[in-house]
């Protein structure tokens, strides 16, 4: 195994394996099966793969119908088009109808890179998080992607799972099992909590190492299950560490930063700094350069940690 894995690639491989185990799994794509990695399933099970062409609204409606007919549809395209173009189809039919559709969308966040703002979904998690019945997941590495994909296939109900382009370090081992509504502490710490999601979990872990050299003991949480939210874990973190930083490849409104703010405001007010995009769209550039531009590097997380500690 390589030391880095991309969440979209691991999704594609897992889906093809699941196809052997679950004859009722069907997969739909909107002309992006190479990018979303559903092509592996398409090759192995052509009779259970439906390319819907460049028509995301029809993609979601057809997936809904397949679920209604007893199938387990995985519908994949880019996160921007899945949640943006077809939001109302997801809302009206899949979420309102509480249908067993798995929306697995690739190319979440600014690390899409060179394609620019049109293709960088920085609103998708917010758009899915406000929907009743919807489970919202954003895995941080290969093992977590594999576990979540397997979990989604077995779960009855609508799921949104965000994958990304970047190859990421492996932080979980293959015994990792996903549990709905639970998030995990990746690194213990007493001075503050760094809460990351997706790509930003890795920046949080690196920042914790930097902070440790300065004598700051940072806890790191991987908040990969955004809905239902593990609010008890967040309250414990606020109570035990007294300050938090959230970091996400998304707008600071509507997703991780908002969710943590809501929990703290209602249950245990504590100093908080949110890292993410602030009222702006993405731009073209290499992924690493864009993370720098938007203040989403390990150094930025460490700087935010020092700032929020001063407010304790």
């Amino acid at each position: 195994m390589s030391d880095k894995e991309s969440t979209r690639v691991e999704y594609g491989k897992t889906l093809a394996q699941l196809g052997k185990e679950h004859p009722d799994i069907v997969v739909l794509d909107a002309d992006l099966s190479g990018s979303t990695q559903t092509r592996h399933f398409a090759k192995a099970f052509p009779e259970r793969f439906f390319n819907m062409g460049i028509a995301e609204q029809d993609l979601m409606g057809t997936a809904a119908g397949l679920a209604l007919g007893g199938k387990i549809p995985f519908a994949s395209t880019f996160a921007m088009f899945a949640t943006g173009r077809a939001w109302e189809q997801i809302r009206q039919t899949i979420a309102y109808g509480n249908l067993n559709v798995k929306i697995v969308a690739s190319h979440g966040g600014v690390t899409v890179g060179e394609d620019g703002g049109s293709h960088q979904a920085v609103e998708d998690l917010a758009l899915m998080r406000i929907l009743p019945n919807m489970v919202v997941l954003a895995p941080a590495d290969g093992p977590e992607t594999r576990a979540m994909t397997r979990w989604a296939a077995a779960y009855q109900g609508p799921v949104y799972l965000r994958t990304g382009r970047l190859a990421l370090p492996v932080i979980h081992d293959d015994t990792y099992r996903f549990e709905l509504g639970r998030s995990s502490i990746l690194r213990p710490g007493r001075d503050l909590t760094l809460v990351g999601l997706g790509v930003m979990v890795h920046a949080c872990l690196q920042a914790a190492l930097v902070l440790a050299e300065e004598g700051i003991d940072a806890r790191v949480v991987n908040l990969s299950c955004l809905k239902p939210l593990d609010w008890e874990l967040l309250v414990d973190c606020a109570r035990e560490t007294g300050a938090l930083v959230t970091a996400e490849e998304h707008m600071v409104t509507g997703a991780l930063g908002s969710a943590v703010s809501e929990v703290l405001a209602e249950h245990f007010p504590a100093p908080l700094l949110r890292l993410g995009l602030r009222d702006t769209f993405g731009i073209s550039g290499a992924p690493e350069r864009l993370l720098q531009h938007y203040g989403l590097t390990a150094a930025d997380v460490a700087a935010a940690a020092r700032q929020v500690l001063a407010r304790k």
Binding site: V26, A55, G65
Partner: protein, 283 residues
Amino acid sequence: METAETAMPLAAPDLSRLQEIARQVRLDIIEMLYRAGSGHLGGSLSATDILVALFFAEMRARPDDHCWPERDRFILSKGHGAPALYAVLARLGYFPREELASLRQFGSILQGHPDSGCTPGVEIPTGSLGQGLSIANGLALATRLNHLPSRIYVLLGDGEIQEGQIWEAAMSAAHYRLDNLTAIVDRNRLQIDGRTADVMSLEPLARKWQAFGWHTLETNGHDFPGLLAALKACRASRGRPSVIIAHTVKGKGVSLFEDQAKYHGVVPNEEEYRQALKELGAS
């Protein structure tokens, strides 16, 4: 280009029975909407005969086992026609007829637009227009994969097909050769703001569906022999989906409401209510 086939009339032994059911359903619709004080009158009345033909003479279903896996499936894509669907489902015994009086009220099993979570016999929530055909396609694909004999029926409003998703789905159904699917367009030529021809033209409608690869028929949507013959022709068609353009009159059955855009979402006042009952021969 082939021309639209015109459905051949069929001698239907139960013709008078269907007509009587349709009259009763129309009375139920008037009663429900008058009591509810809101809802969609015109499009419920235009769709009544189509729904009666489907549910009482065409579809295989078990009202006492509404999750029967081999049932034929119906999707009311024009969800605002819910009163007509509810009246038909109640008459078939999917739920007690007394429930009709609770339409649109707090706690009712009969929501303003269809909600499968509340109403037995309703397959999927609809009401936001343009989405039912995609769902029907998915059901048709699932039915084929499951080797089930079920047929899938979807009723579209004519104004509704101004939604772009309908034409995405029209492409998909033809691409996947969904011959177990029949779409019916309730072609009443009116929408909220006026005539479809004035708001957003749909013609040449039959040629559009043909160009998208559909087996296309036209019939009078209030004529049972015509409707049943068209549905039979759809069942016999192979290798492509079928669409029936059912020419209807909005508000059909009550002269006051017929062909009037203003009764799209307006319910009868007391005087209109009494006249409607009289015209429909309420006992």
